[in-house]
Subunit: 210 residues, 2 copies
DNA sequence: GTTGCATAGTAACATTTGTTACATAGCAAA
DNA sequence: TTTGCTATGTAACAAATGTTACTATGCAAC
């Protein structure tokens, strides 16, 4: 574990801190689709991403859902932070988008290190920063873009995250993540296919040129 | 200034920190409508709200805009924090919603205190937390609510912020903040009036029961 | 191959939201 | 009072999105 850790965070943290992370953190290796956090869960630890990607979803009571953003490999921790502080329940759902390796840090340590290590403090601030910017981007998308533009952006983001030009999702899954209906997505995807930008197949979408 | 400061933050910060804030902070008293931050500005200081309220708006390049949230009186500082860290430009616009008193803290101090005072650190984290939650609520509104529900929520929030049952806005202003058109707002407001929930007047809306 | 199920295609229609265009009303300055 | 400006009301229409319902297709289990 220490090697993975050094690869991802060696530049960021001093050795003492790395050692502490190694000592108190719990290594986790989860498969694609693994549910890391469910809405309403109490959060007692904070994840550091080593590799893979995590999808952060917002759900409301009526079963509505919406993709907020992805956490990427070298990329920092979650907005989970937020939920840690108060003994509040999670407002979001976190699901592994890819096979993902991460280290879970217990809350107490997280707080302790905040006083102890400047690099840790900066890391946490930096994470908050990134998260807020990510949320802003999400707001831009749903407030200012039409569904066809949102879909395009979605396809681009998704293929970037997976680092692959084929997206293995059904229309229904995409519809859930963009909070619309399957028929709408099918319609728009077909239009993109007619424009020669993608190639539709069962259970996957090949990207030709976005 | 020290008295205002103690009233608003006395419970939160220890005396040493209060003294430093008093020493290094700049007191500001701005009228309603005063533009505190414009998109693209570089942020060199962080505001502590003493009284009043600040409206945070998101704008995009095409002139689209959208109300993100309000900062309230005793309420903590801004997402401005975020913009401070990096030497990045502001992604948002901040406008005094009411006559507002605040203290501006220079960035350097902000960072220095983060290491020095636990209460300051917690305050900053807490602020980030609140801001993220506020953004989540905004996302919920635009993603899951129809325009009529958003308008209702807007009227409630606005009257709460101003602590008054009459809202002094034109339909056009509301339309900008909800990122829709004046006609749409007029239409929906008229419906609410017909339901007996509000009373429409020129330049103001009296709330009867929401 | 046949069956059964999940996925995708598509038409027709409903609803919501946005747009245009014009009429009316309130208010203040001349 | 008249004028002019801003704000509001409203109809008619357009576009975007959502819904229903049904068909077709791909794939796997049998």
């Amino acid at each position: 574990m220490i090697q993975d850790l050094k690869n991802s965070y060696g530049d960021l943290f001093e050795d003492d801190l790395l050692a502490e992370i190694n000592q108190f953190g719990t290594y986790k290796d989860v498969p694609e689709g693994y549910k890391l956090i469910e809405i309403g869960n109490y959060i007692k630890s904070m994840p550091l991403l080593i590799s893979g990607a995590i999808k952060i979803m917002r759900d409301d009571d009526d079963g509505d859902e919406l993709l907020l953003y992805f956490l990427e490999s070298g990329d920092t921790c979650a907005m989970t932070l937020t939920c840690c502080l108060g003994t509040t329940k999670s407002e979001i759902r976190a699901i592994a988008e890819l096979p993902t390796k991460l280290i879970m840090i217990p809350i107490e340590k997280m707080e302790e290190w905040t006083g102890k290590y400047k690099s840790w403090r900066n890391f946490v601030f930096e994470s908050y920063h990134t998260r807020l910017m990510e949320m802003l981007e999400t707001i831009d998308s749903i407030a200012f873009l039409k569904m066809d533009e949102r879909l395009l952006k979605y396809l681009r983001d998704k293929s970037k995250i997976n680092n692959y030009d084929t997206i293995f999702s059904t229309h229904q899954e995409i519809a859930y993540e963009l909070h619309t209906s399957r028929v709408v997505i099918s319609r728009l995807l077909k239009k993109l296919e007619n424009q020669g930008k993608i190639k539709l197949n069962r259970n996957n979408i090949k990207i030709i040129s976005l």
